[in-house]
Symmetry: C2
Subunit: 373 residues, 2 copies
């Protein structure tokens, strides 16, 4: 599957983009035109899966918001207020969260206007996404941190220039802890001396710790990542960046609805982040396991299965409808088996015979290229 | 308030304790007695708050389980099976999670006996707690990792001897990420060159990042910790250990039910972990804010409040009943104000006037010793 064309391309300069946005509005006012804001629609109908790209992204439908349209003027004004704050953060070279942005808006606008402009953070979130899309700048570049989660270990050094100080973190010397993956893995972060040969993404932190204790990443020379469940923006972006360096990506999850979802989100992106699909999806990723077909290869696993929940089976049924999944016969077989047998299998189960079996399992899968697409 | 007497005392040697447990059972069998297992009850009525200690711990009520009692024999056998596995983990010097233990039990016992001994992990969890209490050994010493969460930065180095390798992590050189606090901060982990003067615990990771970017811990020479919400076992234990080094501990949370809960859990421990209260509670901790009384000191905060949820108000009411809380008039005033006004205040709100205001707020509180007990 094709590598996202733009994945490593520099997006627009955030400061220039924000200034341009402001200047365009000024020009419209000066020309006596209605100030307006054009962005690409993030509605469901404009989220498309492109088989060539291999990930979910936005189509071409545009949305326009006019300041002089009564129904749109509040949102328009809110968007301008957010842009102004982001410009301030970038100029100050200080970061905050969207919650911090929300309170800054509440502080600046709350006293001078009749009603509080942002009573609920839910109002400001979609407007930030509007700006990200319209200006082709990710929120991380507006100095807005998203929630972070996930850790990494492996033969690579991280140069983190942060708060004016340059620090060097050796991801092969982080003991039992690993390097905590930040929200922003692009700006003022560099990965140097990347010597690993592939990336292994492990759903659960507990399994990551098991493999880390076995020094799996050292012995196999890989980058060992856990998103700690569903991957945060920073972790998805990190996986994409490592794939851009030419490293194969293998994803290791439970065989259940949540595990499948984690895999497909890493691979094809998600509805919510389709607007930055090119930056966070890794279509090259392969699914390492666990699979129900493992039951045919590892006799002991037959006693390790659990009853699938209704949501697992419902989700398997839904996945059979997705064109990016049902084009792969291996996945169709796997999902049909899950539905037919009603069972699920956890990655933790591989610790049954002995704790170090997990490492052997992963090693064998990789050696035999025993993956699902 | 008194420092827990035992907090840094070495608990029993895990291997000896497990062997002793097995040998005692053997002796009972050899003597023709009923094999039995005695532990301290973790029932609600045996969880006590001791005003001298300043934390929740178990009383003296003992529970006995007999192998020859039909109602107890299954649990008895399960407990012995868990002890045997823990002994194996400790001997192998390998770690796993309680989920990993569960699958090991399922693997070993599932085939030979009529019914699966452990169908649900829920069955094995309380039995691990039984063993922890009966043998006076924490699960971390049985090589069972609990969920981990939370990060730390500050002037201290961590010597982590892990998987046979000694690694040195400088918590003052972790860039934007911080050191990810592990499940076990005791065994084969040493804190050296601890130069910080106090510990600041910040509820939300987003605020931790804000303070980290301001180099707050560097400028003020403190240890900056976020539990990332409610503190995991490892983080609570770490805070306790830092307090044992003589460092004052200040906790900074939202002024709402969840924030109060986070504080009191750190300070007095919790019902769930009362059985290791001496290892995880930090009665010396003080509450830094945010408080509703901050509204009287910082004019702008009046526009930053949110409507409290029902759960916040209900929780405030409950807290007024707890003897360890209602003995402090400052807390009574605070909680009554929350109930009367029906509002809450988030720590994020301090970013309203400018992002760096958070640092100034914390600095001023510490300078003026403006804490709640």
């Amino acid at each position: 599957m094709a590598k996202p064309a733009k994945s490593n391309a520099k997006t627009a300069d955030p400061k220039e983009a924000l200034e341009g946005f402001g200047k365009d509005i000024l020009k419209e006012i000066e020309r006596g035109e209605k100030p307006r804001f054009v962005t690409t629609a993030r509605t469901r109908s404009n989220i498309l899966y492109d088989n060539k790209k291999g990930y979910l992204s936005l189509g071409k439908t545009q949305e326009e918001r006019n300041f002089l349209n009564v129904a749109q003027s509040k949102r328009f004004m809110q968007t301008v207020a957010i842009a102004a704050k982001c410009q301030k953060f970038v100029t100050e070279n200080l970061h905050t969260s969207i919650r911090g942005l929300f309170y800054q808006l509440k502080y600046s606008l709350g006293e001078d206007v009749d009603e509080n402009i942002f009573n609920e953070q839910a109002e400001s979130n979609p407007l930030i996404e509007d700006l990200e899309v319209a200006l082709d700048v990710k929120r991380e570049e507006f100095n807005l941190n998203a929630n972070r989660k996930g850790v990494m270990a492996g033969n690579v050094r991280i140069i983190d220039t942060f708060g004016g100080e340059r620090q060097e973190i050796d991801a092969s010397k982080m003991g039992r802890s690993g390097w905590a993956i930040p929200s922003d893995v692009d700006n003022d972060i560099k990965f140097v001396d990347l010597k690993a040969k592939y990336v292994l993404v492990v759903e659960k932190d507990a399994l990551w710790q098991r493999l880390n204790e076995d020094k799996f990443w050292q012995k196999e020379n890989c980058i060992l990542i856990t998103p700690g469940g569903q991957a945060a923006r920073g972790t998805r972006r990190l996986i994409r960046k490592l794939a851009d360096e030419g490293l194969p990506v293998y994803v290791f999850t439970d065989s259940d609805a949540w595990g499948w979802y984690i895999y497909w989100t890493i691979k094809t992106g998600s509805i919510n982040l389709a607007y930055i699909g090119d930056s966070v999806a890794t279509p090259e990723a392969k699914f390492l396991g666990v699979t129900l077909s493992d039951l045919d290869k590892y006799e002991f696993l037959k006693n390790m299965t659990m009853k699938g929940k209704d949501v697992d089976l419902k989700r398997a049924q839904e996945m059979l409808e997705y064109p990016w999944i049902n084009q792969h016969e291996e996945w169709v077989a796997e999902l049909k088996r899950a539905i037919k047998t009603g069972i699920k299998l956890e990655q933790d189960a591989l610790q049954g015979p002995r704790l170090t079996f997990v490492s052997d399992y992963v090693r064998e899968k990789i050696k035999n290229k025993d993956f699902l697409p």
